[in-house]
Symmetry: C2
Subunit: 107 residues, 2 copies
């Protein structure tokens, strides 16, 4: 049996989360990379292989869709399903941060 991808299970890697987050507003691939780098102060930089592979897989999983692309740019946007998956993934990370905060201030 092939192992399930994080894109089909909806239990995304940080990369997937950053990309979905970028696509709350329509953006093309390159702009997503810039947005992530800027909003993380350069802490998170997505390489081209990661970025474009992620876009392909998110599209295949119907979490994002291509809208109004031009010759030189492919513009994507979150689908309803993508929004739900994003919310779930943020929730899990919120709980992680909450747990960590509790445990770390305890000692």
């Amino acid at each position: 049996m092939g192992r399930a991808s994080t894109f089909t299970t909806g239990d995304l890697t940080d990369t997937g989360v950053y990309v979905l987050l970028s696509l709350l507003e329509p953006r093309h691939g390159y702009a997503i990379g810039q947005f992530v780098a800027e909003t993380t102060d350069g802490a998170v930089v997505l390489g081209p292989a990661t970025l474009y592979t992620t876009l392909r897989k998110l599209t295949e999983a119907h979490l994002i869709e291509e809208i109004g692309s031009s010759d030189t740019r492919r513009v994507y946007h979150l689908t309803r399903g993508g929004r739900e998956v994003l919310e779930r993934n943020i929730d899990r990370r919120r709980r992680l941060v909450g747990l960590a905060t509790t445990l770390m201030e305890a000692r």
Copy 2:
């Protein structure tokens, strides 16, 4: 050139973060798996390969160390460096959650 591992860069995967978090108090491998499963309500389950490979690599990177192990159990604990890396990783996720919260309530 070999690509840098997340353990040497200190930019950990969720798996690494969950394991470090578990080791704020001394625990052995199996107990770490249980702790993560319990505190995430079963949302995060680390397979044995992931768990023991992660423990080996965190040890090699001096982020955790083995303390007072018995015949049947190997007990680990965070090092000072591990604590710092954990804090950095939680900070990044806290910013991610904050950013997501802002962006998602906007639309």
